[in-house]
């Protein structure tokens, strides 16, 4: 027969002490950044990356990032079928080092397999002409995947303000999309140091030219604090198939190299921190000065992590880097 222990003196004291002692400090969850690569992803020369291999690279990254049973299960956690998903690409540099169309096709394929109708997928950037130059078929037809620039979609007329920034936001972001997957490119930037997840959202505002001074600090962080950006961006998939370690953001083939991979994270600050280290490492290998010496260290990454912004972490101890 089971004995009811009741409340003995010893148990009472134990319970009281346990309540009085401070609980062990909660270990903050780490931000996971998954780097998925395939050395055969991109054949040398101007050819496109192998679409089947890229799909595999993407699947491994997303499945690992979400600890999911399958890639599709992971994508189902990113957006619901009723939501409109925006894919914010980076097309400033033409076909050379804009977000690769093959990567975007892979993301669109997996989103549809996860139940998102193609009519609910919108690929967007600043200008229709930039999208076209990067190889995307500009189209605003409602029954298929849309590809549209902010110049065609328009901007809000009321200012969005945070900190040092006052801008008009793209209506594609504010009105069309419920969720955003950010698809930047890993590259050097001649003014703000590096451009990846955080900087790519300059493509959501009407006046990015105003916010490059002081190496983009604190402007890049402040833009990412604007509520529609902060609330809607759910995932970053950074195109690192052929990143560029110098001479960016324009395409300079002499300074790009075959990294053959992608970086993914739900924490844009952690992703930018890891990407920045990759760029610096490559610069060191090539005997090029670190960005700090050139007065374009991307201090905005630390600002994005500070107590005023809390957009993510740049503390390497709080970043779980997974390489697959």
């Amino acid at each position: 027969m089971d004995r009811n222990p009741g409340t003995s003196r010893r148990n009472l004291l134990r319970a009281c002490f346990a309540a009085a002692l401070p609980a062990p400090a909660a270990v903050p969850p780490k931000s996971r950044v998954v780097i998925s690569r395939d050395p055969s992803l991109h054949p040398p020369g101007p050819r496109s990356p192998d679409s089947a291999r890229l799909l595999t690279v993407l699947d491994r990254a997303i499945q690992s990032l979400y600890d999911a049973d399958s890639p599709i299960a992971a994508w189902k956690r990113i957006a619901r079928p009723t939501e409109v998903v925006g894919l914010k690409v980076n097309c400033l540099s033409g076909r050379g080092n804009s977000t690769n169309t093959v990567l975007v096709e892979a993301v669109c394929e997996r989103l549809q397999q996860a139940g998102i109708p193609r009519a609910n997928i919108v690929v967007w950037d600043r200008l229709n002409s930039d999208l076209e130059a990067a190889g995307f078929p500009v189209s605003s037809r409602q029954d298929r995947i849309r590809y549209i620039g902010n110049d065609a979609a328009g901007y809000e007329t009321d200012l969005a303000i945070y900190g040092s920034v006052g801008s008009l936001l793209s209506t594609t972001l504010t009105r069309t999309c419920d969720a955003v997957v950010n698809l930047p490119v890993l590259k050097d930037h001649g003014i703000v140091g590096v451009t990846m997840a955080l900087k790519n959202l300059f493509g959501a505002i009407n006046n990015p030219n105003k916010y490059h001074t002081n190496a983009g600090d604190p402007y890049v962080a402040d833009v990412n604090m604007l509520p529609p950006i902060r609330q809607k961006v759910r995932l970053t998939i950074c195109d690192a198939i052929a990143p560029q370690y110098e001479g960016g953001p324009s395409y300079m083939p002499q300074w790009s190299w075959p990294f053959n991979g992608i970086l993914t994270s739900r924490d844009p600050v952690a992703l930018d921190y890891i990407g920045w280290r990759i760029i610096e490492q490559k610069r060191a290998e090539k005997g090029i000065e670190p960005l700090r010496n050139l007065k374009r260290e991307p201090a905005y990454i630390a600002t994005a992590a500070d107590p005023q912004h809390r957009l993510g972490t740049n503390d390497p101890n709080l970043i779980e880097k997974v390489e697959i």
């Binding site: 009407n206 030219n209 105003k210």
Partner: protein, 374 residues
């Protein structure tokens, strides 16, 4: 003032503005017509360029634009995207600019393109100044057409205003030349953030420049304007040396640039470097754009600023944006009589005779040959 004169001053601006807007209601041309190679830049390796128009000296990659948002590097050649690309056009009294010693009572055919090379948190025209040209509605208006419209609407001058004319300087220069050929003068309303060479070229072509001196501290320029003070002061000195008529406006913003010490330092600098005859206008701030948290400038603050500058020996200190304030009038520095009586943008009486006080014959500096005789 008789009835005819009153009607002339009261209705001309409205009628002309309406007519000008009708005249401008023509379809915009294609982008190529707005694009010309920029005149002030330097080519750098790897198709980069360095802009030499303003002190910012943006280094710009291929396919990128400068801070102003209206100049673009295309394959290593730098282009202005706002040549003849007018986003605002009105017929305004010259007093609205304000230019008080430049043909008072006359009208200015006033135009702007998108873009600006600073980002003032108090900007009243941020919808155009902080936008790129493709983000606003534009009309194709080449220089000769501007000059013709100015004549058509009986404007004494063309004013380049509302946004920042420095960023559309090629268009300003060509339009000013077209205007001069037609007997129409040109005035520039600017923040003065410009390099010396383009400024020299501008001064050769225009008849007056009003500079918005935003404050007299570099801290303010860095924090509120995203610019620097010294290049603006250099511009003012250069304009003086080049002999182009110049007036200064200082927008007084509560708590940010309204200390006695700042007014005193400003007055002493103006008197020493530019002389006591440069008109200085203290304007009332209205909460706008990114400075909506501050109140209107109290009138006593503006009067304090004027009193300090008067005491330092400046001859023509005005108060602006306060219709009916006696400091809107021009007074003779010698006999203290009213020479130009103003209420708001309206000129009610002028007591000048060929640039001299009609009472004591004191020479009053300015451009008076086109003034409206009431």
């Amino acid at each position: 003032m008789d009835r005819r004169a009153f009607l002339k001053t009261a209705t001309l601006p409205c009628l002309a503005a309406c007519a000008a807007e009708r005249a401008l209601a023509m379809p915009a041309a294609n982008d190529a017509q707005f694009t010309i190679e920029a005149r002030f830049y330097e080519k750098l390796p790897y198709k980069k360029i360095k802009c030499k128009l303003c002190p910012r000296e943006c280094v710009i990659d291929d396919h990128e634009r400068g801070y102003c948002g209206v100049r673009e590097n295309r394959g290593g050649t730098y282009y202005s995207l706002v040549y003849s690309r007018v986003c605002a056009a009105h017929v305004d009294p010259i007093e609205k600019k304000p230019l008080f010693h430049f043909a008072p009572g006359t009208m200015a055919f006033s135009i702007a393109t998108a873009g600006c090379n600073v980002n003032c948190k108090m900007c009243q025209n941020w919808e155009i100044s902080q936008s790129r040209p493709e983000q606003v509605e534009n009309t194709y208006l080449p220089p000769k057409n501007v000059a013709a419209l100015a004549q058509q609407y009986h404007c004494y001058s063309i004013a380049y205003t509302y946004s920042e004319p420095v960023v559309f300087s090629e268009y300003v220069m060509d339009t000013a030349e077209a205007g001069r050929s037609s007997g129409v003068k040109s005035v520039v309303i600017s923040g003065g953030y410009i390099q010396e060479e383009p400024l020299k070229q501008l001064c050769r072509r225009v008849d007056a420049i009003k500079v918005d001196l935003k404050a007299f501290s570099d801290k303010f320029y860095k924090e509120v304007v995203n610019g620097e003070l010294k290049p603006i002061l250099d511009t003012l000195v250069s304009i003086r040396k080049l002999g182009t008529w110049n007036e200064i406006v200082y927008l007084v913003i509560p708590t940010l640039n309204d200390s006695d010490q700042e007014f005193k330092s400003l007055a002493r600098w103006v008197k020493t470097e530019l002389g006591p005859d440069v008109p200085l206008h203290f304007s009332q701030f209205h909460p706008e754009y990114l400075l909506k948290n501050l109140p209107l400038t109290p009138v006593p603050t503006l009067e304090r600023a004027k009193a300090i500058c008067d005491a330092e020996g400046l001859h023509y200190v005005y108060i602006g944006n306060i219709p009916g304030n006696p400091a809107e009038n021009t007074y003779c520095p010698k006999c203290r009589r009213v020479l130009v009586e103003r209420v708001g943008f309206e000129v009610r009486a002028i007591h000048l005779n060929r640039g001299k006080c009609q009472y004591c014959q004191q020479v009053i500096p300015g451009v008076w040959d086109g003034l409206l005789h009431l």
